[in-house]
């Protein structure tokens, strides 16, 4: 192995690597088909928007007030109501998972509502085994009751207006469509997979088969070898990001308020640590099965769970929050969401790009060291 850097050798190696990539259909599967599937599911299947919850209303009181409250529940756009006379029937339905909440309007509801001294009580029973739906249901059901009460209170000369009100405005995403932040986030996951998973797998195969040693016996030097391995996947990653971005904008209607330069700079910076991590994993494991599992564990799963993509980092326990600082995707997802929904916020971008490149340098240095040691 020679120490010098030779452009001709590099270009010869690049041709060889590119041919190898293009000959293997599985590469295209992961670079173009998988992103499509991911975007498709994040666009249609995953929604964190308030659901239309299937509930049951047990109307035990035949009075007109109780009936009008029960109608208010049926009219709510948030609920799909399954009416029943008895609570027991609904309880069985809920235990079987067919409904996710029960509203009980008890027998004495009308009487207590009209009596001077008493308060009419309804019971809201949620299915706590799905906590997110349960808290939505509790909040909306209480809202239905409060609105119904306010409607009952309106009398001539008196309005139901509250003394303080909050006017909510949601910037960047006024329709509150969760896919507007899930789709940009999933582009980051796609790049993690190409950068880390695919690279780790392909290079681990070379180690496993011994072709890596064969290349090292040629005059190709370490810098050329690494560059020839990394550059094709870098371009593949950028290409896949481009396809995803176009699909996000034109198929899923995600607004794009930044510039092409902004998203290119961010993805370009992110692919450096992603590829570095892939190289490092392959150089350390040298076995396809182990490399693939390590890549899933150290790149894909943290990218989905610890990056702020689906779950709010601030809500995590302190120890886990500390762990998120070493997940590179954490520094890509917020600027990527911004480049779509807000615009080019370079103040934020520079900082995150610098951190990403720092991770990149670290991973590459470790990968080179472990490759060298292997040869020596």
């Amino acid at each position: 192995m020679s120490a010098g850097f030779n452009w001709r050798r590099l270009s010869a190696m690049l041709v060889k690597e590119s041919l190898q990539i293009m000959r293997d259909p599985s590469t295209f599967l992961i670079a173009f088909v998988l992103p499509l599937i991911m975007l498709f599911f994040f666009g249609y299947a995953v929604s964190l928007d308030p659901p239309r919850i299937r509930i049951g209303v047990a109307l035990e009181d035949p009075g007109p007030a109780a009936l009008s409250l029960s109608t208010a529940f049926e009219r709510s756009p948030y609920f799909q109501v399954n009416g029943a006379r008895s609570v027991e029937t609904l309880e069985r339905e809920m235990a079987a998972g067919r409904i996710h909440g029960i509203v009980v309007i008890p027998q004495d509801f009308s009487r207590r509502l009209h009596a001077q001294e008493s308060v009419a009580e309804i019971q809201i029973i949620t299915d706590g085994s799905a906590p997110n739906t349960a808290s939505f249901f509790a909040a909306y059901a209480e809202g239905v009751r409060a609105n119904w009460q306010a409607g009952q209170d309106i009398r001539p000369g008196r309005t139901a207006r509250r003394s303080i009100e909050v006017a909510h405005r949601f910037w960047f995403n006024p329709d509150l469509a969760s896919r507007f932040f899930l789709i940009p986030g999933s582009i980051a996951i796609v790049m993690t997979m190409i950068g880390t998973l695919l690279t780790a797998l392909v290079i681990a195969r070379e180690w496993e088969r011994g072709t890596m040693e064969a290349i090292m016996a040629t005059p190709v030097g370490m810098p050329e070898l690494l560059a020839s391995k990394v550059i094709p996947y870098y371009l593949l990653g950028l290409g896949s990001m481009g396809v995803c971005t176009l699909l996000a904008i034109f198929l899923f209607g995600v607004p794009f308020r930044g510039t092409a330069l902004g998203i290119l700079a961010l993805s370009g910076a992110f692919l450096v640590p992603a590829l570095g991590q892939g190289l490092l994993i392959s150089a350390v494991t040298k076995n396809q099965f182990v490399a693939s599992q390590v890549a899933i564990l150290s790149a894909f799963l943290p990218g989905v769970i610890l990056s702020g993509f689906l779950f709010e980092i601030a809500s995590m326990p302190t120890a886990i929050r500390a762990l998120t600082y070493i997940v590179p995707a954490r520094y890509l997802i917020p600027p990527l969401q911004s480049v779509f929904l807000v615009g080019d916020l370079w103040v934020m971008f520079w900082k995150d790009m610098a951190i990403l490149l720092g991770f990149g340098v670290l991973f590459f240095a470790l990968a080179i060291r472990s490759t060298r040691r292997r040869i020596a």
Binding site: P50, L176, I320
Partner: protein, 371 residues
């Protein structure tokens, strides 16, 4: 036949467990995942910072700020001095929301005129922003109620109210939902990954030809390939069943016997899928990527990431073919709801049907490859 079967099972177990690193990979990460992802995977919103742009110096605005900072979910109140700072704080994600009070706020409250609070949110995190909005509504409603009750003494309090009870999970602890879900997801990921590799590895190493000339029947080879992932999966799940109630305090209320029946059907359904992928792949790399291509939709359509009821109708139909969707109901049910055996079985027969289909498909494909 039993002798051959035993021999092939022993051989396959060795193939998986011989490599010490593979042994570690099969058993250690599932536990690390349980801990890390169990605590990280929460849709609750806590510890957030909220900005207050207060142009009012009166008593009313001070009370509101006090109520905000008293909320257990708010970590810090960030004072904000100008409209430009509002923009910068939201853009830079240093706060998730800014509450804006105008100069007249306290005066309006004091004279019982309606006061309106402006609140802006970071819509990039629209789910969390909505939850914060609900918190803010509640805080403001409480303050309003206390003002109204002092203003209109003796007139009338609310005549109806609601009592909320959460079944199966009285404190709505998110961990109680995540843990039974992770049992489904983690066992699926490791089960599929191991099965998908088995045949592809033989083909890549050239030992597949040796299998063909051996006296083994197709089904014996198939069973031999299935037993190790089945054992690894069952062992991991059993350890989860011990850890989750003892370490994480999630109740395990249902019948373990029916749970294991459902688990076996679930694992068989997954192994069938893994075998199909494996038989279709030429190399380990293709097998792995193929498995991955299956894993992502299986997780997203299971109901773990977001409720199946939220999906469009045609995707809900597709989700019926997803084994993880049915087993998630069983797992949540057996842990939290003391699900009766009849209900567990009602969710188990779809698993058995899926297993039958995938295993038949895999054995047909195998036969055509082997002969």
């Amino acid at each position: 036949m039993w002798g051959r079967l035993r021999a092939v099972v022993v051989k396959e177990l060795w193939a998986i467990l011989r490599d010490p690193r593979a042994r570690i990979i099969l058993f250690i990460p599932p536990f690390v995942q349980l801990f890390v992802f169990g605590f990280a995977g929460t849709l609750e919103v806590k510890n957030f910072d909220i900005g207050v742009y207060n142009r009012d110096a009166g008593v009313g605005s001070r009370e509101l700020v006090q109520r905000l900072s008293g909320s257990p979910n708010v970590r810090r109140i960030v004072p904000i001095g100008s409209a430009d700072e509002v923009r910068a704080a939201i853009d830079g994600r240093s706060v998730i929301a800014v509450v804006m009070l105008d100069q007249q706020f306290s005066a309006k409250l004091a004279t019982h005129r309606p006061a309106v609070i402006q609140a802006v949110y970071d819509g990039r995190r629209s789910n969390s922003a909505q939850i914060v909005a609900a918190y803010l509504d509640r805080i403001v409603a409480d303050m309003g109620a206390s003002i109204e009750s002092t203003a209109a003494v003796g007139l009338r309090a609310a005549r109806s109210r609601s009592m909320v009870t959460h079944w199966f999970n009285p404190n709505l602890d998110y961990l109680w939902f995540t843990m039974p879900g992770l049992v489904v997801i983690i066992s699926m990921v490791s089960g599929l990954a191991v099965t998908a590799q088995t045949v592809a590895r033989e083909r890549e190493l050239g030992t597949f030809d040796q299998l063909m000339v051996s006296p083994l029947r197709v089904y014996e080879t198939l069973i031999g390939k299935m037993v190790p992932p089945l054992l690894v999966g069952t062992l991991n799940v059993t350890l989860y069943l011990v850890l989750i109630p003892t370490v994480f305090g999630v109740p395990l209320t249902g019948s373990l016997f029916v749970f294991y029946v459902a688990l076996t059907c679930y694992m068989c359904a997954l192994l069938g899928v893994g075998m199909l992928v494996s038989a279709l792949s030429q190399t380990q790399q293709q097998a792995f990527l193929g498995a991955f291509l299956i894993i992502v939709p299986v997780i997203l359509l299971s109901g773990f990431a977001s409720p199946v009821d939220n999906m469009p109708g045609w995707l809900q139909v597709l989700a019926q073919a997803n084994p993880a969707k049915h087993f998630l109901i069983v797992s949540e049910g057996v842990f939290l709801q003391a699900m009766p055996a009849a209900e567990v079985l009602a969710n188990t027969w779809p698993l058995a049907v899926i297993a039958l289909v995938t295993l038949t498909g895999a054995s047909l494909l195998f036969r055509s490859r082997l002969e």
